[in-house]
Symmetry: C2
Subunit: 197 residues, 2 copies
């Protein structure tokens, strides 16, 4: 597939009703939304259990930065037509039902049917700081795989858009990402030094 | 002002009806939209002449990349309530009338009143390639001020998101930006060498 990938947040519920919030890159294919959750993952298990998921279109980047820095508890409210929840901060949400599971590997391809769609507020336009938080969240989610110099130089580049175009939400999200990089460095230093002999 | 800046496209018309299309970072202040066009500029002159402008919320990044690479001719249609045009590809547009001009320097601050607002289609979510095109367009608009190594390293970084998440529109826009960098280098080399003695 060579379609555009959109960075969204997928919400699902377990069979006991416990909600799960996961940032996810999704594709649109005609009328369907294509999800590729890893297996195993809570999102995959929940869709397997309920056949349902909610696609949340979100511009509050604190959700993306929060989910990669241990802040997974965002306000939700019940979906309207399916078993599930949607993010309260979503600009719009689409309630989805599983139509077809195409691949059986480690990343199954789930074709989801649109059951119900609600627009809550309108998109205000591109913001470079929001894009920088998304890129920073990608970097933070890969800290263990990336050389520190690469992380530093890319964070420094992204910082420019934060300084020039961010509002309070983007600054808060960016702060969480910077903290996560520091924390990772501190724990990596600890591992390298190791315990005294 | 320390508000979020949103990257949008402002359309205006001259007194003779000729449309003008300009990417512009704007701020929202309560119910008003704050524009800061340079003076002199066609956008400023047109707003001075007509008191009107249209704010276009656009995710087709070809408009942004096009306007910084000499492709300023995008399809428009008449505004509904004011003298002006809106971009046909706009996700939504807001028809604006000048309420107050606060500053008289080289960048006057224009507080614009919302007269009419129409949503044409819904926002599909963040796309990292679209954000990369926006950043690339900022770089290309500053080619004369930036060292070539900085442009190269930032374009190389942005290329990653293009390769991973772009669709045909984003690839086309990105191609225009790469061409513009090449063209600038070729003409800079010409200037440095100068004519044969």
């Amino acid at each position: 597939m060579n379609d555009v990938i959109f960075e969204t947040v997928v919400t699902t519920v377990a069979l006991d009703g416990k909600p799960h919030i996961a940032p996810m890159g999704v594709r649109y294919r005609g009328d369907q939304v294509v999800l590729m959750p890893f297996r195993p993952s809570t999102t995959y298990d929940n869709i397997w259990g309920t056949n349902c998921a909610v696609l949340n279109i979100v511009t509050d980047t604190r959700v993306f930065a929060g989910c990669v820095t241990g802040r997974r508890d965002w306000p939700t409210q019940p979906a309207e037509k399916i078993s599930g929840v949607r993010l309260t901060c979503a600009l719009s949400h689409v309630e989805l039902r599983l139509a077809e599971q195409i691949d059986d590997g480690q990343r199954p391809v789930l074709h989801m049917m649109r059951v119900h769609e609600v627009v809550h507020s309108s998109f205000a336009g591109f913001n470079r700081a929001q894009a920088a938080v998304i890129e920073g969240a990608v970097l933070v989610s890969r800290l263990r795989m990336l050389p520190p110099e690469k992380v530093d130089s890319e964070m420094a580049y992204l910082q420019i858009a934060i300084d020039k175009t961010a509002g309070p939400h983007e600054r808060e999200a960016w702060g969480w990402l910077l903290e996560a990089v520091q924390r990772h460095r501190a724990s990596a230093a600890h591992v390298i030094k190791g315990p005294s002999p």
